[in-house]
Symmetry: C2
Subunit: 734 residues, 2 copies
Amino acid sequence: MMESFPLLPGGVHSGSDNYRAPKETPFYWGTQGHDDELYIQQAVVLIEDAVHYRSINHRMDPRSIQLYRWYYSRLCQWGLNVVIFVILVLAFIERPSSLSVTSDLRSKHTLWEPPCGLTEGIEIICLLIFTFDLIVKSYLIGHEEFLKCKWLVAYMVVISVSVIDWTLSLSMACDDTMRIRKLIRPFYLLQNSSLMKKTLKCIKRTIPEITSVILLVVLHLCVFTMFGMLLFERGENPEKNMEWEFYFKNFSQSLTSLLVLLTTANNPDVMTPAYTLNRGFSVFFILFSGFGTYFLMNLLTAIIYNQFRGYLVMSIQTSILRRHLGIRAAFELLHCQSQEPTFSEDDTVECVMVQTVLKVMRRVQMKGYYRDAIMKKASQSSSGYIPREAFQRLFDELDKDRMKYHPPLPEYSSKFLRKVQFVFSQHYVTVVGNAVALANVVCICMILVIDCEKTLSERDNYYLETINCFFILYYLLEMVLKMVAFGWTGYVSYGSNIFDGSLTVLLLGLQISIFATYSLPFSYWNPAHGGLTSLWEMVRLVNMLSIFRFLRIIPNIKLMALVASTMVDLVKNLRAFAGILVVVYYVFAVLGVWLFRGAIIAPATNLSTTVDPRIMKMTVNKTLQCGSYEQLGYWSNNFDDFASALVLLYNIMMMNNWNVFLDAYARYTTEWSKLYFIAWWLTSSVMWVNLFIALILENFIYKWDRNHGCSNRDMERTDLETTIQLMFSLSFQI
Amino acid sequence: MMESFPLLPGGVHSGSDNYRAPKETPFYWGTQGHDDELYIQQAVVLIEDAVHYRSINHRMDPRSIQLYRWYYSRLCQWGLNVVIFVILVLAFIERPSSLSVTSDLRSKHTLWEPPCGLTEGIEIICLLIFTFDLIVKSYLIGHEEFLKCKWLVAYMVVISVSVIDWTLSLSMACDDTMRIRKLIRPFYLLQNSSLMKKTLKCIKRTIPEITSVILLVVLHLCVFTMFGMLLFERGENPEKNMEWEFYFKNFSQSLTSLLVLLTTANNPDVMTPAYTLNRGFSVFFILFSGFGTYFLMNLLTAIIYNQFRGYLVMSIQTSILRRHLGIRAAFELLHCQSQEPTFSEDDTVECVMVQTVLKVMRRVQMKGYYRDAIMKKASQSSSGYIPREAFQRLFDELDKDRMKYHPPLPEYSSKFLRKVQFVFSQHYVTVVGNAVALANVVCICMILVIDCEKTLSERDNYYLETINCFFILYYLLEMVLKMVAFGWTGYVSYGSNIFDGSLTVLLLGLQISIFATYSLPFSYWNPAHGGLTSLWEMVRLVNMLSIFRFLRIIPNIKLMALVASTMVDLVKNLRAFAGILVVVYYVFAVLGVWLFRGAIIAPATNLSTTVDPRIMKMTVNKTLQCGSYEQLGYWSNNFDDFASALVLLYNIMMMNNWNVFLDAYARYTTEWSKLYFIAWWLTSSVMWVNLFIALILENFIYKWDRNHGCSNRDMERTDLETTIQLMFSLSFQI
């Protein structure tokens, strides 16, 4: 958890100091009682640190160890995450509440507004828990380390500011204007994840180079803006002034037009008036986008990727280093305790007793599978002693993938059952199953194509229902037979079977409930029946689940399996990036709600009860240019509550038509609102998307290199590992 | 030029066979006359091959050598390139001719149509030249090699097909329907560039992996289309059917909607009707784009980049190999000739005489600078003989950057001139010059901001004109003083001075012509004067040039200089990619003109003479949905001639609003036209843009690694070079 703790040489040396001179540090590394029990406890904690890649730089006296183990227990950490989740989710129900069916400005009805004090109450509980968390954390690492760690100091400041802000807010009777504490809430999420902090550090490192390209982009933009303004100046002939009128009227408008063109969001439109006059004008725009969009923007990608090269390897190295540190520390402790290296002739071979190791391992909280593997390996030692290298190697088991072993097939006495077992444990059963799933999807697709233009009442669902029944029965049969063939535990040991099985059970349940409600499906196919829509909804759900079930084919296609497994791995590495995305979304959404809430007013609020978007569109049509907020009917995209702000920010991140929002808010508020949108564009589309591409590249290439034999990177990694080993040997032995 | 010639081991061995047993090959490696002159000639050709990284696999008899040197002379190659350029440019003037001011469908007036036979005449001349080129090439490499080389065989086929097609076309009196020869014209460009052929090979290698991702994209698209159709089925309430009506009416429309969403081109629009009804529907679209656009599309980038990693290094290695081969062959020839290794004690040291080398070098056609460097280095040999390694090393001079050395400052006798020289040869003169250029740009910018809303007649150009005069005089003074300080040759030896100077001269010329036409500028500032617009145009041009001149600051800003130099390097490596882009644009544009020419008919052709786009827009407004081709007024984007087809394809490549074209052509022609647009999207946006990103990444990282000390890649490269050296030694000596 302590990211800023220096792990490399300095850290190691301070660690070795601790080992050599435990008496100098009053409460670190237990000096109160030199009994076995304390040593064992300390070793247990150190090994837990190693398993979870945690820093070993914390208090080691008996009471602190108790606290430490409790604090890092799964329950406690899970609780903390829930609290962080709760305080973040508060934004949805706080006023302006997002609890409405639609965010459409013309027909918004908030379903429920929280009474004053409810969200505040929840919030203060969360804040108190955070305060407690901070106290425990800072106690565990000690006062000096606390001051060194900027994240913890910032944590303290954030909590204090939040509490003060909360008090002010409550004293003003839940005044829901801008509250600074909402804006700094995402900090709790950041603070609690070491991966995110690491990623942030990496991003910080990239800033200087990005700045140089951004400067170049600005220069490019300014030069072209001035060229554009000279090129499309207001002429004598008003008919030929279209380009000037719509896009180059003044400096600010020209700059905006070209900035938006840089994102391609107004591409053919911005050149259309000029291009209609003369083909030659297209050269100006093509040069601008060719250089700006393709060249400079992609150069940004290159720069960001270049900084992120080796990021994965680096983060793996840091983790490995922490683990080695923990294991080595545990070994030193246990070695000190069992001062009996009697069987060796030279003094340099340090050993620990197998019994002690087993005792420690039994108390370590970790996944049972790995614990068993390590204990098994430890007890294989013939001499009863484990030397240092072997002790280190014990924990290599942690890096090994858990071998999924499938239980043996059950043995049946019945001949028939044995035959069934033989037939259904073959590979082709999966192939046939896939074919049937495909057939199901094709059926649904065909019925969709036939039915697509029909209204609900015109549809004949009899066939569809029959087909669905047939397929569900087949799936059920497949499931049962597979269960018979593999036995219950064998069936469950395959991930794909769990996926299939649970969907089949769901489908069956739905089908039964359809039967139960409408007894026999075809007797009620009559539009007068009240429950029809609901029945149709259920059939639709069945279809959707069937399509979803079809995805089971993916692992069975080799090429796709490779790509898909790359993606699954990526998702794991993506958590930190997703967390940072959540943080920026949160901050910008809160800021947006504060700045632009209620800025756009729907044109005809009296229509809000019986809204017909088409009528609305017609009334607006005559006055407004095509492509504007009003004419496109983007009324649901606004900053009036947190949820719609998120969707609006997402739409801007996708960049298409983001100029519509830029323009609308500039019109309804001030020109300066553009700054907010441009800041978001830079943060999301430029920074985050490029980071994401860099991560995908890094992951894919890392995986590729690993799959295709020993590459340079791997060699580098191995080199570094040996270097670490050497470093250790030096700092501990010399 | 011969890409498919196997260069690695096989090639080397065949080469060594040629050296060892020249008698067995009748016309390779000259057996007709063993006189010195032939050897020297052959050596000259081999060294020229080495200098230009050409393959040495061609005839070596005296007549062939003459032909070969003539064929690869700069004039001849330049002529060939001109012919290729001419045949490609023909597409602009062939019917449908692009020679019109605008491509607007409502007001297109073609200025000139070529008479029947003109373009055909030019074309047949080009084809004859290509035939001659083919004959020479195939003669030079010999019959066997010709058959092995697929590119040359294809060249032959393309020329034959073109000639047949040309004959047919002429016999049908210049019928301008689809002519197959237009479609295959870009082949000449491809065939003539070894870089492009190499890149194509690289792309071919990437196809299998791209296919797997494309399959995944198709699966993703199909699954979501079916989900979407189930989710947005036609319901009972017509008000709630907006989503179904506009985007999910049938399978084809749903698929198109989601395909376009994959490119984000219809992002907020496609979700607007559903999102207006219920916030929850946004999840469907966000999931779709999140996975499809961000994940799968970027995975494509990763895959393409992964294939292109090492592409640059590989291509450098191939070139190095070819150069080594040429140099080594030349050495062997010269060594055979001068059979007098008398001064060495052991027989293994092979040498050539310095005199011979100098004789050969004097006749080699190469850049004088490098020739001088090599000859100087060769004549430094003390013994009069050059051993093999030293001979090889001679040509390392070619890899060294040409050191730009500036001539010494001229010495003046006058004291005043010496003072001027001292003052103006300092660095701060550049700084002051930059500051003045900046001031000029700021002035222009301010006047632009002030004047932007004024019409031409309201503007007061007096100040602007005075300011311009002042700045131009300053630039002139700066130029003259610098010339005095550095002398003429010293001044010209700086690239930045040439840039400054030529722009200053241009500005001065313009300014003088303004004065000459209007004698004193301020006496004529009266809108009644007829020449005003033209005067204004000239002032505008002066301003543009002043802004352009401001770009001289770029090399003076460190950060930017780095990025800019990266980009300059990139442009060099980009030629092959640009060539492939030209090829795909050409093919698709010709195909588009063939398929869709005249498909869209302007609504009111009687308006075409007095066109007012605004009126046009109003009349269309009532019937058409916002965002359609007609309402956006995209009339100039069509396939009615080659030039407008290029711009339309460019607009689709930029992807914003490409759905408008997709939709318009589907409406005016058939649904199948979508295939053309999707094919172009896949070729340009998916393939080419990703290739471009891969190239930028590769270039940037290569440059970065080279600038930041010895990296892995460099090590790899050095390793390979030594491997090549070893390989050579083995194949020649053992």
